[in-house]
């Protein structure tokens, strides 16, 4: 039977949450297409393949010294070997740091279409139709592939995580990995800092809408102090050096779940939202009524933060 194949992602022997989300996605998509869900796991010795098998009925394991660490060359060669040895209809990959690094390469190696950064998939007329965000989440689009097979990458959180249950069958697949042209020398920490905003009950976060570093300091920090919380930032604020990296919230920063998260001058890009959507109460202050942050906020004020925040200060 045709298969919907996910490529598992693991780090230090631990299976990533995004892989468990893909297990869920593969099951529902496979059943809608009359196919079977399966996973491909690439590693040095196959240990992690047994772990993935708790979440999906069939696991294809490629084991090679060159697969000890992730590489685009290694993962593409291994995935291609699995696809060619099985009847694979589609490949699902996380839109993660590793996923974006090889998914498009795999699609070209398989000579098939890729729809990347999806958040939904439905089956219409026997073919998958993908939904994805564009224009910073202000617009969504539907796409499908014109080729027989497909590759798709999915945003984190697009699906719930599959729970551990069964004991899937693990089958080894032979692959010639060939030259790996990127060598990982080491892994370094870049966000170490004295502050730990992840413990704060209240967080006041400022974004690019603050305009410059002085305004960020004059507007965001006093409000954070007044409500007894921590101040934080979106990525452009950190990129521009207005505050330190340890205060960045999002996919490449900290994940936070305070009781109150105030987002001022932040548009609500998916990578920012990934780090704060679990907050109990979210306040968005933005002059653009269509900013995606309003889709996840509890309360919103459409207006100029330079007028709204001083007025809040007067009432606190």
């Amino acid at each position: 039977m045709a298969k919907i194949l996910i490529i598992a992602e693991h780090f230090d022997g631990k299976v990533e949450d995004s892989t468990l989300e893909l297990c869920k996605a593969a099951k529902s998509l496979a059943s809608a297409l009359g196919a079977e869900p399966a996973a491909a796991v690439f590693s040095k010795d196959g240990a992690v393949a047994n772990e993935v098998a708790k979440y999906i009925p069939a696991v294809f394991s490629v084991e090679d010294a060159n697969l000890e660490k992730y590489s685009a060359d290694g993962y593409t060669a291994a995935a291609k070997a699995v696809v060619e040895s099985q009847d694979v209809k589609g490949v699902l990959i996380a839109h993660s740091y590793y996923g974006v690094d090889f998914a498009a390469k795999l699609a070209l190696a398989l000579d098939c279409g890729i729809v990347s950064n999806c958040n939904k998939v439905a089956v219409e007329g026997g073919a998958p139709v993908f939904t994805r965000n564009t224009y910073n989440g202000k617009i969504q689009e539907n796409k499908k592939v014109k080729t027989d097979k497909f590759v798709a990458t999915f945003e984190k959180g697009a699906f719930d995580m599959e729970a551990a249950g069964g004991a899937g069958a693990v089958t080894k697949v032979a692959a010639t990995i060939g030259a790996v042209r990127t060598t990982v020398k080491e892994i370094v920490e870049t966000m170490a800092g004295a502050v730990d905003i992840s413990q704060a009950k209240v967080i006041v976060a400022g974004g690019r809408g603050l305009k410059d570093g002085d305004k960020y300091k004059d507007v965001i920090i006093p409000l954070a102090k007044k409500v007894g919380g921590e101040y934080a930032a979106s990525r452009p604020v950190v990129d521009s050096g207005w505050t330190e990296a340890a205060r960045q919230v999002g996919q490449s920063g900290k994940s936070v779940t305070p009781d109150l998260y105030i987002a001022a001058g932040i548009s609500g890009a998916i990578q920012h939202v990934a780090g704060m959507k679990g907050s109990k109460c979210i306040v968005a202050i933005n002059k653009d009524p269509e900013a995606p942050i309003f889709n996840i906020a509890t309360y919103g004020i459409v207006g100029d933060l330079f007028e709204v925040i001083p007025a809040m200060m007067e009432n606190l």
Partner: protein, 256 residues
């Protein structure tokens, strides 16, 4: 070092978006600018040129309006550029664009480094650089936040989740997708803007480079997402709204 930067012109995301016939956005309301991530790629290329010599070439696929932002990169210091102004490419998918860009780059000859942004702010695909690398049979690294060149060897940092970086070695020719924060992009100077007007910009069609890829994906439609959850928008002038908000946070949500 001979460096190409792939630069895409994109809408300013604060624009008011309107969709025409579920097919395309109404450009009459839209201001266009350089894709933010590509600005960092231009700066990275200019810094390498300042250190190692060589040239920086901008390659962009887009309609006539894109010339404004190619010239913006010229004003920052890029040397010359190629604009692929071809409706057939515009109508294609990421693969069609990647192939056209890659063939244009091949026509330049002896390009050692190709830089892209990590993603285009409009299509958010993050595939173009990886596709070009595959077509060039060159190695690539995405999400690059640090870059050093030693002769033919590159040492780059790839951003990972949770504040970690992988330090990676590879050799040129290579494709790197540059992530924001790697540098502080410069602003064009007035003399830079004057010089930019005279710099060479070749306007081409895909066929001029022998590019002819067919799309492997099909666009169906676009729409404004309807969220199941919308914020309770607090009305009134800033003073009234702020007072209501503080009251709600204290007495309704009880989070202050």
């Amino acid at each position: 070092m001979k460096i190409v930067v792939c630069l895409k012109q994109v809408p300013d995301m604060e624009s008011k978006f309107k969709i025409i016939d579920e097919k395309k956005i109404d450009e009459s309301q839209i201001a266009f600018k350089i894709n933010d991530f590509d600005n960092y790629a231009v700066e990275a290329a200019l810094q390498l040129k300042e250190k190692l010599g060589g040239e920086v070439v901008i390659v962009s696929a887009g309609p006539a309006r894109a010339q404004k932002d190619v010239r913006q990169a010229f004003a920052m210091g890029a040397d010359w550029g190629i604009q692929i102004d071809d409706p057939a490419v515009e109508a294609g998918d990421n693969y069609v664009i990647a192939e056209a860009l890659q063939k244009a780059i091949a026509s330049i000859g002896d390009v050692e480094l190709v830089l892209t942004g990590v993603q285009a702010e409009d299509d958010q695909a993050s595939v173009t650089g990886v596709m070009m690398a595959h077509l060039m049979d060159a190695p690539h690294v995405t999400n690059v936040v640090k870059l050093e060149v030693n002769g033919k060897d590159l040492t780059v940092n790839r951003e990972l989740a949770g504040g970690k970086n992988e330090v990676i070695n590879l050799s040129i020719p290579a494709v790197l997708a540059i992530q924001s924060g790697i540098n502080e992009p410069r602003y064009p100077t007035l003399p830079g803007i004057m010089k930019a007007k005279k710099k060479r910009l070749d306007v081409k069609k895909a066929a001029d480079f022998g590019a002819s890829a067919a799309a492997k994906t099909e666009f169906i439609k676009m729409f404004i997402p309807v969220s199941e959850h919308k914020a309770e928008i607090i009305q009134g002038d800033p003073k009234t709204a702020a007072a209501t908000l503080v009251n709600k946070l204290k007495n309704e949500a009880k989070v202050l």
